[in-house]
Symmetry: C2
Subunit: 108 residues, 2 copies
DNA sequence: CTCTTGTGCTACGTTTTTCGTAGCTATCGC
DNA sequence: GCGATAGCTACGAAAAACGTAGCACAAGAG
């Protein structure tokens, strides 16, 4: 009779190095986008969905749970917002907008 | 006889806004990680695989193709490297490392 | 030449994730 | 009560990612 199977995670970042954990977390579908959309203040679940190309609620919920577990997002009666830490992270991400615009220009 | 089906992409970024396109591209599994690993110079396909938790070659190849198509990665006889544009993007990503370390500290 | 080594990458069956839609529960104002 | 809005779950279908094996090619050694 076979053992119940060691039940490893399939998901990345073996090392546990924080940057790898972060890149893994942000590399899941919609995670970056969610963080991006939450930059300026709280959004409700549905508002967030509307902003993010109508991502399916099950995935949105999964991501939000992961982001909450990671301490990047929190929920109040206003809706979802980035934690203070994540707001900082959001600022690090800001320059991406400018970069993306130049990038789009270059490759027209 | 049913129509061949309109064949829409399933994948994000309806708007075409550059930042959304970028977030979508980087939000695919291993994309961020690949960019991260390529920061300091060229890596061969296999070296890249080894660094990135042995990501499966089919996925790695798909990501590399996407990143090449997007003008973020190029291939020489040295292996894969970021394009000049992507090197710039890589620098924008650098502060994430410090952030991740502080984040890991805070949540121990 | 053959043999080895290392390369980029494909093939393919299995597993996991994501998707789309419907709809449940709870709360609020009326 | 009713309707509107909220967060979120359920679930079958589709797509993506996985792990492993191995092909084709090139360069080097003998």
């Amino acid at each position: 009779m076979p053992k119940p199977a060691p039940r490893r995670h399939t998901r990345g970042s073996q090392s546990g190095r924080p940057i790898m954990v972060l890149l893994d977390l942000l590399g899941r579908r919609w995670a970056l986008r969610i963080l991006w959309e939450l930059r300026d203040g709280p959004l409700t679940f549905r508002a967030l969905r509307d902003r993010a190309d109508s991502v399916s609620p099950s995935v949105l919920n999964t991501r939000l749970r992961e982001l909450r577990d990671a301490g990047l997002v929190e929920m109040s009666n206003e809706g979802y917002s980035p934690t203070r830490d994540a707001a900082e992270l959001g600022e690090l991400l800001l320059p991406l907008d400018g970069w993306a615009k130049r990038w789009a220009q270059r490759r027209r």
